[in-house]
Each structure stands twice: as structure tokens, then as C-alpha cells.
């Protein structure tokens, strides 16, 4: 995806004299003073067409005077260009952009939670992931990854069984702080002021919430007057981990973010790192990546279909969808050696060559799957109950797509053809043919149809990849092992001294990345998964920001459910399809 062109940059510079424009290798950055931020953003949104909010985050530079730098990433859907706006916080304060983009509210809450930056003008600046009363701001550079141990928590298993010698458990007795139920109650009270009859807690441990999202509904009878979403019940500190390990070591962690589409995550991450390191990927690897990413997309949509239908009472679809999922899982397991969190990709290629017979199995799957899809359509598409539950529920307008930074099938369901695979092709997406299905109304039913059609398109892509891979010789390289930052495959390591030394060096010292910054994203089943990497050189990123599609897609939920009923919340949530591992990270 191109970045802001020079003509536009000059126009902006003409309007705003004190804006500094910086063209880096991978991005275009506008530096602006904190006081002028809102004006500039307003100008970019209204005059220049940068109306799609992609992401906001901060970077902590403890040695500089202002310390925190705010980063905003915007997208212009007319010219297909992105831009990064940067500004320094003043005395730990930034202005809130929630009047311009509604989803900025959530991004700002997160930055407040993680960095302690105060946003002036925010309607309810609360902690996003941690609980009220948690005293630290974890993403600050002076906070340790493993936290600050302060409470004694012994292993109860050991307490019951008695301590043996040597001990059966090896653990640190002192543990980081765990909230009490009162803390959680305070968190809940801080989020929502009761206006109507009663506040209903939905989740966090409720099967319908797709994980551990905690919803608060202020109800008047069955009508939802207002609602809020509390996240953080799966906040594992991914971004902090990324700052503390080497680039290649973080790859398995991306699997565990959106665990339903592991390979798509890996692909987005590997693409970003390869951009930073300047690694070319061989043709075969690109096709293998594309093929598996699309298999994973089908896999993910099947899970959405199964659980979404299950939530609305259709148990059969769940069992059917999982039957097909098992087939895909087997294909993935046969190649990567793992079913779910596969870690199949590597920086510079893929871990293994295609296993014997993979293409035959995939061909059989391609042949069989359209019939299965027909089964699902028969069960649901014209089903009267299904139509009643999904038609005209949760309608998202086109403006809201931009306002809330929606991406993926949720954006496409409202008729916005935003698909990174077309707009900024990565892997082999520019060499295969496929269409982008879009909806018309933007209700739950449209999003359902879009996802169903996406599976058909994925099949098309896989078919082309199989045809291509059959033509490529078996000896074609599947990883770019000539590059100094790419690890050699195992079969070379044991045979060749040079490869062994190289791998040894990378494992011990990490890849040596040049200083610079990259924002690169991939089209995940749950929307745009972006990685913003800020490197100051060396083998670890200085800051790695994960732009989660699921988080932004979820941010429209409180608006959509307003004046709806509780029953609609379930259908609506299913259609937004968040995965908590990615929203909370």
C-alpha cells in the first residue's frame, strides 16, 4: 500500500507551516506539535480524505524530555494511501480524538492503561485491560516484563499433598498482584453509570461471549439502554514480550493471539519483519504461504459459522463445521506438525517443504468442500428462524466503518471493499485471481453471506496455488537461506558448517535489524492485523505494536446494541466475531 504522496504532503505543509514531513524507507510521517494535533487530524479527515482510522499507540522514550510520543495511523480509501502522524505528549497529556473517530476512545484507553498518558476530553478514561486500582503502567520501559512480585501465592496442589523433597513443584512463591473481587466490582462500577432498571453482567465466563469478554448492559425491561465492554480477561502482555525477545522468537507468539487463524497471523508478522530486514521470499514459499493462509481462513470461518449458529440454537451446524475443520487441521498438522498453533512460517520462507501427498489431499478437499458449503446453505440461508434472528439486526453504515476503524468481513458486509490482499498484496496474492464479496445492507445477515462467499473465494485461491505448486520442481527453495538474517532449514544445518554457524549466531544474537519503522498488515479472517515495528537497530524491536482487527471491530458493539434487545446481542457478537486472544493481546 503506498504512503502519502509528495503532492498531498506539500498541500498539508502549506496549510500547517509547523508540520514536519518525513519520508522514511517504508512510511511517510507527519510530525506535529501537540496543540495543533486536532486541527491537523480534522484537516486530514475532512479535506484530504484520510477518514479511515487504523490505529493509535504510543512509544516510550525515557531519555527524552517529553518522554511519550503518540502515533496515529490513518488511511485514505480514495487514493489508497496511508500516513503516520506523530506528536509528543506534553507533560504526559494528549488531546482526545474521540470527537473525530469514535474508536479512538478505545485506543486511548489502552494507551492510558499501558503508558499512563492522560487524554484530555475523553468521556471516561479508564483502564482498558487491567483493573481499577492497578498501580502500574506495564508498557513503560522501566517496568519489567515479569512484573513486580508482591503477594505470596503457594501452589495449593502442593499444600494439599504436603511438601516433598525434592519438591514436586518448582515455582516462585512470590507472585504478581492478583485483584480481589472488590477490585473487579470497582472496575465494573467505574465503567457504567446505571441509568435504567438494572445492570446485567454478561460474561466474562459465559459460553456465548466467545472467550472472556465482559459485557455490561443497562437494561430497561429487555431493551438495552446503554452498554460497555470490559476487556483484559486475556491480556497476556504480548507487546511487552515482543520488546524483550528476538524477532524470530516472537513468531510463535503471534499464533497464540488470534489462535483460530494462526497461519494468517504468522504471515502478517513475517511480512512486516521481512520488510524491515529486507528479505526476499522465494516463489515456492510465497505460494505455500498463500495456500495455507487461505486454508486457515476457511478453517476460521468454519469456526465462526459453527459457534455463531450454535449461539442462535443451531447445534447441527456446529457438528458439521467441526467435521470439516478436522480435515483442514489434519492437512496443517501433516505439514507443520501442529494442529492449532502451528508456527509453520519462518522469516524468509516456511519451515518445511510440502509434505508428501499434501497437494493430493488438498485437491480432494477442494472437490469435496463445495458440497459441504451447500449443506450449510441448506441449513441456514433460507431458514426462517435464522432470517428472523439476523436480518436487519446491527446495521453498520459506511460512515461507521471509517469512524470505528472497521476492517475485514465486517467492513465488507457494509459494502466497503477494504481488503489488504488486493490493496497491498503480500505473499502471492497479486498473482492469483479472486473477488471480494461485499454486502449491501450491512446487517448480521450480510456479514454472514460475505463470510460464506469468502470461503468460496478462498477455495479458488487454493486451487490456483495447487496448480502452481504442482508445476514447481521439488528442488525449488522454500526458504531464502542466502540472506544473513534468515535461518537455514534443518537439513542443511546438520550437513553444512556455514549454515550451522549462521543459525547458531542468529539463535544466540538474533537478527540484526536496521533502525527504522515499518507498518505492515495482512488481511486476517477478523480484519486487518497490522504490525507497527519501531526499531532502533539491534535484534529486538524497540516497540512492536499490534493493530488488532478484532478489537476495532468490537468497538462498534456498544453503539449497535443500543436500543436493541439482549437476544440480538448474541447474534450481533457472533457476526462481529472477535477473538479475545487478539483483542486483549
Amino acid at each position: 500500500m503506498p504512503w502519502m504522496n509528495r503532492a498531498t504532503a506539500d498541500r498539508v505543509k502549506f496549510e500547517f507551516k509547523d508540520v514536519e514531513v518525513e519520508f522514511t524507507k517504508h512510511t511517510t510521517n507527519l510530525h506535529v506539535k501537540q496543540e495543533r494535533l486536532i486541527d491537523l487530524m480534522k484537516h486530514l479527515k475532512e479535506k484530504e480524505g484520510y477518514r479511515h482510522f487504523i490505529d493509535h499507540t504510543c512509544i516510550d522514550f525515557p531519555d527524552t524530555k517529553e518522554r511519550f510520543q503518540g502515533i496515529y495511523i490513518l488511511y485514505n480509501p480514495d487514493t489508497n494511501e496511508r500516513v503516520i502522524v506523530k506528536t509528543w505528549a506534553k507533560e504526559g497529556k494528549l488531546p482526545s480524538l474521540e470527537k473525530l473517530w469514535a474508536c479512538a476512545r478505545w485506543a486511548e484507553r489502552e494507551a492510558y492503561d499501558m503508558f499512563g498518558i492522560v487524554y484530555e476530553g475523553h468521556e471516561n478514561l479508564r483502564r482498558m485491560f487491567m483493573w481499577e486500582g492497578y498501580p502500574y503502567h506495564p508498557l513503560r520501559k522501566d517496568f519489567p516484563l515479569e512484573g513486580i512480585p508482591e503477594v505470596e501465592l503457594p501452589s495449593l496442589t502442593e499444600l494439599y499433598a504436603g511438601r516433598t523433597d525434592p519438591p514436586s513443584h518448582d515455582f516462585e512463591l512470590v507472585h504478581t498482584r492478583v485483584p480481589t473481587l472488590e477490585d473487579l466490582e470497582r472496575t465494573e462500577k467505574a465503567r457504567l453509570q446505571k441509568k435504567a432498571q438494572l445492570v446485567l453482567n454478561w460474561g466474562p465466563l459465559h459460553p456465548g461471549t466467545h472467550g472472556t469478554i465482559w459485557f455490561l448492559f443497562d437494561l430497561d425491561g429487555e431493551k438495552v439502554v446503554q452498554s460497555d465492554v470490559i476487556l483484559g480477561q486475556l491480556h497476556r502482555g504480548m507487546e511487552k514480550i515482543a520488546e524483550n525477545i528476538y524477532y524470530f522468537q516472537f513468531l510463535p507468539y503471534t499464533d497464540r493471539m488470534d489462535y483460530i487463524s494462526a497461519i494468517c497471523n504468522e504471515l502478517s508478522y513475517a511480512t512486516a519483519v521481512e520488510k524491515l530486514l529486507g528479505v526476499e521470499v522465494p516463489e515456492k514459499a510465497r505460494y505455500i504461504r498463500t495456500m495455507f493462509a487461505e486454508l486457515q481462513r476457511i478453517n476460521s470461518h468454519l469456526l465462526w459459522l459453527g459457534t455463531g449458529a450454535l449461539d442462535l440454537g443451531a447445534l447441527t451446524v456446529f457438528l458439521y463445521a467441526f467435521r470439516e475443520r478436522e480435515k483442514i487441521m489434519d492437512i496443517i498438522e501433516g505439514n507443520a506438525g501442529f494442529r492449532l498453533t502451528s508456527a509453520f512460517l519462518r522469516i524468509g520462507g516456511v519451515h518445511y517443504d510440502l509434505a508428501e501427498g499434501t497437494l493430493d489431499v488438498i485437491k480432494a478437499f477442494i472437490k469435496d468442500f463445495p458440497n459441504r458449503l451447500k449443506e450449510y446453505h441448506n441449513l441456514l440461508t433460507r431458514n426462517r428462524i435464522w432470517l428472523r434472528r439476523t436480518k436487519d439486526i446491527g446495521v453498520i453504515t459506511r460512515e461507521d466503518v471509517f469512524n470505528y476503524g472497521l476492517t475485514g468481513p465486517v467492513a465488507r458486509g457494509s459494502g466497503v471493499p477494504y481488503d489488504i490482499r488486493k490493496l497491498e498484496p503480500y505473499a502471492a496474492y497479486d498473482e492469483v485471481e479472486f473477488d471480494i464479496p461485499v454486502g449491501e445492507v450491512g446487517d448480521v445477515y450480510d456479514r454472514y453471506l460475505v463470510r460464506m462467499e469468502e470461503m468460496v473465494q478462498s477455495l479458488r485461491i487454493i486451487e490456483q496455488c495447487v496448480a502452481k505448486l504442482e508445476k514447481l520442481p521439488k528442488s525449488a527453495p522454500y526458504v531464502n537461506k542466502e540472506h544473513p538474517a534468515v535461518m537455514s532449514p534443518k537439513e542443511y544445518v546438520f550437513m553444512d558448517l556455514e549454515d550451522m554457524v549462521k543459525n547458531f549466531r542468529i539463535v544466540v544474537h538474533g537478527e540484526n535489524a536496521p533502525p527504522g519503522e515499518v507498518y505492515s498488515s495482512g488481511e486476517n479472517p477478523r480484519g486487518e492485523l497490522g504490525f507497527y515495528i519501531y526499531s532502533t537497530g539491534g535484534s529486538k524491536p524497540y516497540r512492536l505494536r499490534i493493530r488488532s482487527g478484532a478489537l476495532y471491530n468490537l468497538s462498534i458493539f456498544p453503539k449497535l446494541i443500543q436500543n436493541g434487545t439482549i437476544a440480538d446481542a448474541i447474534a450481533l457478537l457472533g457476526s462481529l466475531d472477535p477473538v479475545v486472544g487478539e483483542t486483549d493481546r
Binding site: F129, M130, W131, Y136, P138, F143, L145, E146, G147, I148, L153, P154, S155, L156, T157, L159, Y160, H169, F171, E172, H175, T176, R177, V178, P179, L181, L184, P204, L205, P207, G211, T212, G232, Q233, L234, H235, R236, G237, K240, I241, P252, Y253, D255, R256, Y259, I260, L303, G306, F318, L319, Y320, F322, R323, R325, E326, R339, L340, T341, V580, G581
Partner: protein
């Protein structure tokens, strides 16, 4: 110990009968926390079909006697899980599925609970990240074995009380030898 005598009767102790019933009808609570939960769903779905073992997921802690902790337990969710555990009636068991729930797994971070056993006692730990559904099946079989060998008295305060009551009323079951 159950045995068959010459008249075709099966003779057993009440304890043994109860334990047999319990271990073959473990009803877990429907809770998924993270990636491992997907594998748990797979274990329950078409291919691996947990129902065969009498394992049927229940949505209410009041009806459940097994807590399968599938996924990363972060500090914030720990007190809620503990609450659910306390809401489950005795006798009850706990299986931790995956590295995260067992010991923090790949997340030695500020926000993650380093092992479920810090807040509730655990009976079976299943390693893996995530464990294969077969791993979960194996874990459940292990738990059945454990119940068979150790009985149900371990965390069973209510049952103890009940027994004491029975003793007081002179209704305690005696070993019957054949």
C-alpha cells in the same frame, strides 16, 4: 471392588458404586479461556466426541463437577474462576489443560497467573500448547483412574460432614464380606 458371585449377583460397596458412577459421568463446566479452549471444543465435537466418556458440558457451575481450565489464566480472571470453583458442589475435580493453565506456559509476564494451582488445587495437569484432543481424553481417563484409586474424599468437606451426620444417627455403612 465389584465381584460376581455364584448366583449371578454383583456385589460391591456403596463407596465403590458411587465412585464408579461419578467417574463415568464427569460433567465439566463450559468455560473456554484461550487457544486450548478450541482444542477442548474439538474434543467435544464430531471427531473425538467426549460424550462417549460420559463427559457432557454443563453451562452452570451448580451442575458441574469438573473444571477444565483450558487456556491462559490471567490475574484479572483468577478471582472469577475461583468464584466459579467455589460455586461448584462437592465432590469436584480440576484439570488444567495446557502449559498456561498448568504453570504460566509461554507467558512469564506481569499479567499472567503462573499456574492454576496457585488458586485452586489441581488433580490432573495436561502439558502441551495446546494439548491434542487426545491429550485431553487421556487426561480425563487419568482422572477417572485417580478417582477410582483415591476415592472422592479429597476436597470433599461436605461429604465428610454428611458422613459424620450418618455416623451420629448410626446409619454408617459397614463393609460386607461375602
Amino acid at each position: 471392588m465389584a465381584m460376581l458371585n455364584s448366583n449371578g449377583f454383583v456385589l460391591t460397596t456403596v463407596d465403590e458404586l458411587l465412585s464408579w458412577g461419578r467417574r463415568n459421568a464427569l460433567w465439566p463446566l463450559t468455560i473456554g479461556l484461550a487457544c486450548c479452549a478450541i482444542e477442548m471444543m474439538h474434543a467435544a465435537a464430531s471427531r473425538f466426541d467426549l460424550d462417549r466418556l460420559g463427559v457432557i458440558f454443563r453451562a452452570s457451575p451448580r451442575q458441574a463437577d469438573l473444571l477444565i481450565v483450558a487456556g491462559t489464566v490471567v490475574n484479572k480472571v483468577a478471582p472469577m474462576l475461583k468464584l466459579l470453583w467455589e460455586q461448584m458442589p462437592d465432590p469436584k475435580w480440576c484439570i488444567t489443560m495446557g502449559g498456561c493453565a498448568s504453570a504460566g506456559g509461554p507467558f512469564p509476564t506481569y499479567s499472567t497467573l503462573q499456574g492454576m494451582d496457585r488458586i485452586i488445587p489441581v488433580d490432573v495437569y495436561i502439558p502441551g500448547c495446546p494439548p491434542h484432543p487426545q491429550g485431553l481424553l487421556y487426561g480425563i481417563l487419568q482422572l477417572q483412574k485417580k478417582i477410582k484409586e483415591k476415592g472422592v474424599k479429597k476436597y470433599d468437606k461436605a461429604f465428610e460432614e454428611f458422613k459424620k451426620d450418618m455416623e451420629k444417627q448410626g446409619l454408617i455403612a459397614r463393609e460386607i464380606t461375602v
